[in-house]
């Protein structure tokens, strides 16, 4: 099993997928943090709550991790490399499990790098405006484990979704439509907090949630149920399919 996980990690590394998605996160962080620090008033920047909100852009890594998961599963079908994969590892459930673990690890790694950069870059810019930096407080730092955990879950979710649809672009577009349209529509019935996007958001907040989110543990449980359901459905579909 270890060797299959290592092979999956080598796959995302050797296509430079991890590198490009990492760069995308850094660029978004630079944009958001620089705009805030440059434009917000000194009074508002000095607020610990606002500083926390500025660096919480690092949570975008959970969305990017979802894309990573989708591309590393659906991409194998898109590029036709799944045949090579199954020749070496014909027990498809094991491949599915290895992909889940690898995507969770890679997602967590992306999130960790995203947080490290957001905190460092944020502190640097805040200091340059002579604002006292409050980023080392627990209320700010709790986003770090929350984001890392959330990105690990979304990586696994992406694997499941990618194996169900087996088309990269379709899977990414459907995920975005769901997050931007589908889940907000759940708001009509006031059940959006049970949607996968909101469940993952409550994991990111790690206890500091607003009232429209589930509590941390409840959110974590719901997110894990989604990840497990998607993964099991995807693995079953792939297992029964012919690689032609």
């Amino acid at each position: 099993m270890t060797r299959l996980v290592r092979a999956e990690l080598l796959k995302v590394w050797t296509t430079r997928l991890l590198l490009w998605l990492g760069l995308l996160i850094l660029a978004l962080e630079v944009l958001v943090i620089a705009l805030h620090v440059a434009q917000d008033s000194l009074g508002s920047l000095a607020e610990p709550r606002n500083q926390r909100d500025i660096v919480s852009i690092a949570a975008i890594s959970a969305l990017i991790s979802l894309i990573l998961g989708i591309v590393s599963s659906a991409g194998e079908f898109a590029h036709g490399t799944i045949g090579h994969t199954f020749l070496v590892a014909p027990v498809r459930e094991r491949v599915a499990a290895a992909k889940l673990i690898a995507a969770a690890l890679a997602g967590a790694l992306l999130a960790l790098a995203a947080c490290a950069f957001a905190w460092g870059f944020g502190a640097l810019l805040l200091a340059s405006r002579s604002v006292p930096v409050h980023l080392a407080s627990w209320s700010a730092l709790r986003i770090v484990p929350g984001t890392v955990l959330a990105a690990a879950i979304t990586g696994a979710l992406g694997i499941g979704l990618g194996s169900i649809l087996r088309r990269q672009t379709a899977a990414i577009v459907i995920a975005l439509i769901w997050l931007l349209v589908g889940e907000p529509l759940l708001g009509i019935g006031n059940v959006q907090r049970y949607g996968p996007g909101h469940a993952v958001a409550s994991v990111v907040e790690a206890g500091a949630q607003s009232s429209d989110l589930l509590a941390f543990w409840a959110g974590l449980a719901v997110a894990l149920v989604y990840a497990a359901a998607f993964a099991a459905t995807g693995a079953a579909l792939v297992k029964g399919s012919d690689v032609t």
Binding site: V88, P90, D242
Partner: protein, 297 residues
């Protein structure tokens, strides 16, 4: 199962919806030989091979490698090396990294990666993205991947497709030396000539069904047809051939004689007849199928 046959199909059947791609196929491949797997395009060769390799699920019957279904093999990459038809690769991954991924997954030491790249003469391009490879280079990469685990058997699906003549010669030499070293080779093709120069025996399928499994010699005997001959003195040659008991018919500017070229040449020489052309006429694979299937193909 040490005594099991390398590859075996037992009543192997695959239906895709209402189409029967492979119909009740039973054959066994002998170890240490090169077996050709012949059939026209669409006969069911690829589906059969993919069932042997665990990629396609049989509707009925069994596909066995060393006596077991592929997915039960403890170390598949060390048991059988496969070259899939028109293998696809991730275009931005280098050839070497593609092999590193497979070696990692199969628990094969990374030193094998450079060794097989050397063996297929691809070392110089190993670090380039596969997207920049020619078709021939991709085929060599496929062969390299098949060799990673030093398997005793190779399964190749139309490996000559898209290869240049030099590549085909390289592949033929390589497979001969692999078999000479005791390896088993099962190679599919829709071109009779490719297999005729290589195989010890042939499995022939047509329209999803097995039509023959025989030594190559038996197949060549079927395909050894008559002789086409052109002569300015065609009428006299026709008489001489008839006198020698050889059936011949005139068609266009040439004669078609039901005897090997050596015989026809001897008859012409004995009668002092000038020849402008003398060539053996071998039956095409399609004609062999027609003969084997009693003309219903």
């Amino acid at each position: 199962m040490p005594n099991a046959l390398p590859l075996e199909a037992r009543g192997l059947t695959k239906r895709f919806g209402s189409t029967t791609a492979v119909d009740d196929l039973t054959f066994a491949i002998e170890p240490g030989r090169i077996t050709g797997f012949l059939g026209p395009n669409g006969a069911g060769k690829t589906t059969t091979l993919r069932m042997l390799l665990g990629l396609v699920h049989p509707t009925a019957g069994e596909a066995l490698v060393d006596g077991e279904p592929y997915r039960k093999l403890a170390e598949p990459a060390r048991t059988v090396g496969a070259v899939l038809e028109a293998s696809s690769y991730h275009p931005t991954r280098s050839g070497r990294n593609h092999l590193r991924v497979l070696a990692t997954a199969a628990g094969i030491p990374q030193t094998r990666v450079d060794a097989v790249l050397e063996q297929v003469e691809l070392s110089a391009a190993a670090r380039r993205r596969v997207g920049t490879y020619s078709l021939g280079m991709r085929q060599r990469l496929s062969v390299a991947a098949a060799l990673l685990g030093e398997p005793r058997q190779l399964v190749l699906d139309e490996p000559a497709n898209g290869l240049d003549p030099e590549g085909i010669r390289w592949l033929r030499d390589f497979l001969r030396s692999f078999a000479a070293g005791g390896g088993t080779v099962f190679i599919s093709s829709h071109v009779l000539a490719e297999i005729a120069q290589l195989a010890d025996e042939v499995v022939i399928i047509h329209k999803a069904k097995l039509v023959a499994h025989e030594p190559l010699g038996a197949l060549t005997a079927r395909t050894a047809g008559g002789t086409i001959v052109r002569s300015p003195d065609a009428n006299r040659l026709l008489e001489q051939l008839a006198a020698a008991g050889i059936e011949a018919t005139a068609a266009d500017n040439e004669l078609r004689a039901a005897a090997p070229p050596e015989r026809v040449g001897e008859v012409a020489a004995a009668a002092g007849i000038v020849l402008h052309e003398l060539r053996g006429e071998s039956a095409s694979l399609e004609e062999v199928f027609l003969e084997l299937t009693g003309g219903e193909g």
